[in-house]
C-alpha cells in the first residue's frame, strides 16, 4: 500500500529512491564531499553517510550561497540525491537543484517526518506536486 501526499514544487522533475531522513539542516558548501556524496560536516547526524541516489529529507539548507554550486556539482558527478524533500526550501538548495536538475518539493500536506522513515521507497513527482511513499518491506 502506498500513500500519496500533495506538496509544493520548487525544482521540477520526477525521481524515486530510498528515503534518507535527516532532522537537521544540511550545508552543502564544505559539508558534502563531492566525489562520494558523503556528509563531511563534523558532528552532523549524517556524518560519513552518503546522500547518493537517496530521496533526501531535511528541513532546509544552511551555510554560504556557494552551496548552490555544490548541489549542482553532486548532481553532475552523479553523487547527489535522486530528489529532495524539505519542510521549507531556501534559496541555496532551490538554485542549486534547478541548476543540476534535482527534483525538490516542500510544504507537504502531511509532515514528512511523521510518515517517512529511512528505507521507505519514495517517489517525488515535482511536476504535479505529489510525494508517494511505499513503506519499507511493502514494495
Amino acid at each position: 500500500m502506498s500513500k500519496t501526499v500533495n506538496c509544493r514544487v520548487v525544482s521540477k522533475g520526477v525521481a524515486e529512491g530510498e528515503a534518507l531522513v535527516c532532522s537537521k539542516p544540511i550545508g552543502f558548501n564544505f559539508g558534502v564531499d563531492i566525489p562520494t556524496g558523503k556528509i563531511i560536516e563534523h558532528g552532523h547526524e549524517l556524518e560519513g553517510i552518503s546522500i547518493k541516489d537517496k530521496v533526501l529529507i531535511f528541513p532546509y539548507g544552511k551555510g554560504s550561497t556557494g552551496g548552490s554550486y555544490v548541489v549542482y556539482q553532486v548532481a553532475v558527478e552523479g553523487t547527489g540525491p535522486a530528489a529532495i524533500i524539505n519542510l521549507n526550501t531556501e534559496v541555496i538548495i532551490a538554485c542549486g537543484a534547478i541548476m543540476g536538475g534535482i527534483p525538490v518539493v516542500d510544504h507537504m500536506e502531511e509532515n514528512p517526518y511523521d510518515i517517512i522513515e529511512n528505507g521507505d521507497w519514495v517517489k517525488v513527482d515535482a511536476v504535479n506536486g505529489t510525494v508517494t511513499i511505499t513503506k519499507k518491506g511493502e514494495n
Partner: protein, 409 residues
C-alpha cells in the same frame, strides 16, 4: 504568484533554455520568500565567481549556460575572482586556467569582466530608489545604505538569474516596510580612519545579525565614502547585515524617526571605546609579530586610497622577504598607471593587483603565514579560509609592517 506575459514566455522557453532555467530560478526564489510578483531591475552584479565557489562543475555549468544561449539583458558586472588576468602572481596553473574559463563564460553571456567588488567606483552607479540585483555582501550594504538603491543579499546564482531575465522577486529590501531600522547604536567614542570604521562595523555586525542597525552620532565625524564602504563590508561579513542607517549621513535617515520608520519600540546600545576595542580584538589573531604578507584593499581601493598608499611608499622599499599586495580593479589601476601612482607602488616592491583578492584566491599556496591588513573583511575570513594569522590595523601600520617586516601596535 502573478507573472506577466514576458515572464511567462521566458518560463516556457521562449527566450531559449538558458533564460528558461534563469526564470525557473527566479520563480522558485519568489515562492520561497512569498513574493507576490517580480519587478524589473536596472542592473545586476554576479558574485561567487571564484573557483573556490564554482569548482570545476560550476565552471562547466557556466559554459553550458553560455552555450545554451543565456545572455544578460541589463548591465551586469562581475565580482572579484581568484586571479589577476594582467600578470602571473605565481599561482598554480590548475587554479588559473579553470578560473579564467569561468570568467570567459560569464563574459560570453554579456557580463562585464571588470571583476571587482566596487563597480560603483567606475561606471556602474545605482541611483536612489532603483531596484537592482547585486550579490557581493559589501556592495549590497553600500548600494542599499549609502546610495538608497534597493537590493537583497543576492547569491551568485540568483544575481545571475536576475541579470539574464531582467527581473527579481519583489520581497525584502525592495519593500519600504523592510527598510526600517531594528536597533539603535549611540556612538560615544571618536572614530578616526578606515580601520576604526572596520572595527566598529565588525562589532555591530556580529551583534545585530540580520537586523538593520541605526547609527546615531556618526554624522559629526563626516565619514568618507571609503570609510562607509569598509564599515559596511565589516558588518556584512561579521553578520548578515544588508543595510544600515547612519542618521544625518545616509539618505533614508535624515532623522532618527525616519530611520526607524515610526517604530518606537527598539533597543539602544552604547558604542564607546570598549566596544571599538572589542571590534579590533575580534579581527586580530596574530601570534608572531614577524609579518611575511601584507594585503590591503578588500573591498578594492578607490583611486584616492591607491594614491595615499603610493605616497606612503614613495621613495621607500618594502622588506625583501615580505610580499605586499594592494588590491584594486582594472579601472582604478589604469588610472593609477596614467597618473604615476602605480610606478611609485611598483618601485617600492609592492604589487598593485587587479581582479582578485586574498579571500577568493589562494595565496596560501605561496607559503605565507602571517598577514597584516587594513581590511575588516579579509581579517574576518583569512584565518579560516586561507589559514593565516592576522594583524588588523590602519594603512599606516600595514605599510610600516611591509617596510620593516614587523607588526607594531
Amino acid at each position: 504568484m502573478k507573472l506577466n506575459d514576458d515572464q511567462k514566455m521566458m518560463l516556457d522557453g521562449g527566450r531559449g533554455e538558458g533564460a528558461r532555467i534563469a526564470m525557473e530560478m527566479i520563480v522558485a526564489i519568489a515562492n520561497v520568500y512569498g513574493a507576490e510578483d517580480l519587478i524589473p531591475i536596472k542592473s545586476a552584479h554576479c558574485a561567487g565567481l571564484s573557483l573556490k565557489s564554482h569548482g570545476l562543475a560550476g565552471m562547466r555549468w557556466v559554459e553550458d549556460m553560455a552555450a545554451k544561449g543565456a545572455r544578460v539583458v541589463v548591465p551586469t558586472t562581475m565580482n572579484v575572482v581568484g586571479v589577476d588576468r594582467s600578470r602571473d602572481l605565481g599561482l598554480p596553473k590548475d587554479w588559473v586556467e579553470p578560473q579564467m574559463r569561468i570568467e570567459k563564460g560569464y563574459e560570453a553571456m554579456g557580463c562585464f569582466g571588470t571583476s571587482s567588488c566596487v563597480p560603483y567606483y567606475y561606471s556602474f552607479l545605482p541611483k536612489f530608489g532603483e531596484h537592482i540585483a547585486w550579490a557581493e555582501s559589501s556592495a549590497v550594504v553600500f548600494t542599499n545604505s549609502v546610495l538608497g538603491a534597493r537590493d537583497n543579499r543576492e547569491g551568485g546564482p540568483s544575481a545571475w538569474a536576475a541579470g539574464v531575465t531582467g527581473y527579481t522577486p519583489n520581497y525584502g529590501l525592495h519593500l519600504d516596510e523592510n527598510r526600517r531600522g531594528g536597533i539603535r547604536f549611540d556612538i560615544t567614542c571618536d572614530i578616526n580612519g578606515i580601520a576604526d570604521y572596520g572595527a566598529m562595523g565588525n562589532f555591530i555586525g556580529k551583534m545585530v545579525g540580520e537586523k538593520i542597525p541605526v547609527l546615531v552620532g556618526l554624522d559629526k565625524f563626516k565619514p568618507t565614502t571609503e570609510e562607509l564602504v569598509y564599515m559596511g563590508a565589516a558588518m556584512a561579513s561579521a553578520g548578515g547585515v544588508a543595510m544600515f542607517h547612519a542618521v544625518g549621513v545616509t539618505p533614508e535617515a535624515p532623522t532618527v524617526e525616519a530611520a526607524f520608520g515610526g517604530i518606537k519600540d527598539y533597543d539602544t546600545v552604547e558604542f564607546g571605546k570598549k566596544e571599538l576595542e572589542q571590534g579590533y580584538h575580534n579581527l586580530t589573531c596574530g601570534k608572531s609579530r614577524d609579518v611575511d604578507f601584507v594585503a590591503i584593499g578588500c573591498p578594492h581601493m578607490s583611486l584616492n586610497q591607491v594614491r595615499q598608499i603610493a605616497e606612503m611608499l614613495d621613495g621607500k622599499h618594502i622588506k625583501d622577504d615580505v610580499t605586499m599586495w594592494v588590491h584594486t580593479n582594472m579601472a582604478i589601476k589604469a588610472m593609477a598607471r596614467e597618473l604615476g601612482y602605480l610606478q611609485k607602488i611598483e618601485d617600492a616592491g609592492a604589487v598593485l593587483t587587479q581582479d582578485l583578492c586574498v579571500v577568493l584566491s589562494c595565496p596560501e599556496v605561496l607559503g605565507f603565514h602571517t598577514l597584516a591588513t587594513q581590511s575588516p573583511k579579509m581579517a574576518f575570513y583569512a584565518p579560516g579560509n586561507n589559514g593565516f594569522d592576522v594583524w588588523y590595523g590602519s594603512e599606516e601600520k600595514c605599510v610600516k609592517a611591509a617596510l620593516t617586516g614587523r607588526w607594531e601596535d
